[in-house]
Amino acid sequence: MAADPSGVLTGQHYLDGNHAACEGALAAGCRFASGYPITPSTEVVERIAARLPRMGGMFIQMEDEIAASITLQGAVWAGKKALTVTSGPGFSLMMEHIGLAAMTECPCVYIDVQRGGPSTGLPTLPGQADMMQARWGSHGDYEIIALCPESPQECFSLTVEAFNLAEQWRVPVMLMMDECVGHMTERVVIPPADQIHVVDRRWTKKPPGEFKAFEPGPDMVPDMAKAGDGHHLFVTGLTHDERGYPVMNQKAQEKLVRRIVDKIRLNADKISRVEEDQIDGAEVVVISYGITSRVAMRAVQMARAKGIKVGTMRLIVAWPFPENRVRELASKVKAFVVPELNYGQMSLEVERVAAGKAPTVLVPHGGGEVHDPEVILEAIVQAARGAR
């Protein structure tokens, strides 16, 4: 369906990524946001706090990120589309509720504008070291979806996409920005509302008494209802049956947790999104995401000028990881080069999936600034030389 025009600021703008992400949320139909200030993400909620009251929405600054990360889930069960925004330390505090959202299949969006870590780290400077936390940070087995914008334009479009994926798959979706993308100002084009695809909630058509809140459809995802509709919902973080009733045994655990994992794993190819360039015939493929993919492009251009056949793959959807595509490439290319603003996170996935068919060369960086393209170039040159 088309976007609600009341939230769409159609036109050409000069925005930073944080403000663009706010506009993406409003275009997607988000009308509830709970937040807590944290650098370098605060501009997202600052803009939301200014925008939502004029369009019938609700913003509340909560007392901490723990509260912010569950207040939005209350709003979702009351029928709204909702998000919260944070950075590393706040993201750590939100982890328990990301698990709750996964377990209760609560469609909601968490934005993490990554900064240097661990702990307080580098509040004003970039990092990409929360990628594994996004995937594994809460306890127990679950799956989420994570997107990585590389520009303010994508901060807009991928925030819309994050809401759409959350509604379609009923999972918490994480928009994994970084400080550079969040604070970089570029042209952002916001299309007319009727050209923005928005996914509505999967409202049940069943009447109270017949509807089971956790009975999956053919795509393994249950339809939803909201509080106040007479369904007498039972929503719990405990292991539960299709009615939502707690069931404390292995059989119920297997049925529920297997499904919330498999609904993403078995549909990974549908959810996955990468951007590739000059992959055919490439001897080296550079895999990157977020701001690092733009820095890597410079290194790739320099390598190509030296006559090295380099392809690129940019992870737009980082989780679920594009396993099948990377596995396919591993038997064709001579090496993968993975630059990222951490000491090896997504590179571990590349290495795991490549399974020894092609070596994975990590180009690590502790964060605080972006890579020097020369360092990535050197890794490409070495990888190509080793490959020859």
Binding site: P53, G74, W77, H97, A227, G228, T236, G237
Partner: protein
């Protein structure tokens, strides 16, 4: 003695989940009975009433009520309920949980929701211990009482919960024990008739852990103690409501005032800033239940 064949409040309960997990002599079920009777007496719109709990013995209440039931994470029932209420002000949102959940791990949310005057009724079952995990010391545990994690006796100063809620701005504050079933029922009804942050503390026995460890007898002994030790003081100064080990328990309705709810204050502010172009956010019913 009259016989009842069926549970008189069964229409409010998920009977397919009975029996409950609560121990014999536990007071949580008694409080739920009072809550259900208050729902009947106040003719509450059950379709619009939703109950949110955290974790613990009292955290199981939401799941036994035939309403929209949300069993959330430990300590976070209030912020979840805040999201429900602010996203749909038509809902009558009740938070039902224990003192460990609401005043220890969730203490920060309790004070801020009261400060903001979020339109919620919070029923806090205070049994002076963490029952679900086996009888550990809690933020209201009285001095001298022993616990599995305070084997030589509790020595911290406990929270006086009505004073805490009052200080933070709650518009309605009461305390009853599970001996005071009529008063508690009436108090819940009264709270349904108000808008804003309402807090009712229910002192409740835990025969299995708190009483057994402190040699205080069974559930019936607790009832006898509540009967003898309770002192009715409606309108009492909430600073004087401390509870010591087996000390007198002051019960009553202590605070009943009005101040703008979060949404009312927000609408007032935005209207003054934006003028007539501001479309006020829906404020929901003027009280949780009409006719109270």
């Amino acid at each position: 003695m009259s016989q009842v064949d069926t549970n008189p409040v069964k229409e409010y309960l998920r009977m397919d989940r009975m029996p409950s997990i609560w121990c014999p002599g536990c007071g949580i079920g008694t409080s739920v009975n009072c809550f259900a009777r208050a729902l009947t007496q106040a003719k509450v719109d059950l379709k619009k009433t939703t109950v949110v709990s955290g974790i613990g013995c009292s955290g199981r209440v939401s799941g036994y009520l035939e309403l929209d039931s949300f069993h959330t994470t430990h300590g976070r029932a209030i912020p979840f309920a805040t999201g429900l209420k602010l996203a749909n002000p038509e809902l009558n949102v009740v938070v039902y949980s224990g003192e460990g959940d609401l005043a220890a791990i969730g203490g920060n949310h309790l004070i801020h929701a009261a400060r903001r005057n979020i339109d919620l009724l919070v029923i806090c079952v205070n049994n002076f211990t963490y029952g679900m995990t086996g009888g550990q010391v809690s933020p209201t545990s009285p001095g001298g009482a022993t616990y599995s994690t305070a084997p030589y006796g509790q020595f911290e100063t406990p929270f006086n919960l009505p004073h805490l809620a009052d200080s933070c701005g709650a518009v309605y504050v009461a305390r009853w024990t599970t001996f005071h079933v009529r008063q508690l029922t009436k108090s819940i009804r009264e709270a349904f008739g108000k808008k804003g942050f309402r807090f009712i503390e229910v002192i409740s026995p835990c025969p299995t852990l708190y009483q057994r460890r402190n040699k205080l007898g069974d559930g019936l002994d607790a009832m006898k103690f509540y009967k003898e030790a309770s002192v009715l003081k409606n309108g009492a100064d909430t600073r004087e409501l401390d509870i010591g080990f087996q000390s007198p328990i002051i019960v009553g309705s202590f605070v009943n005032r009005d101040r703008p709810s979060f949404i009312e204050a927000m609408n007032k502010r935005f209207t003054s800033v934006f003028g007539e172009s501001y479309k006020p956010y829906p404020e929901g019913p003027s009280k949780a239940v009409q006719g109270c």
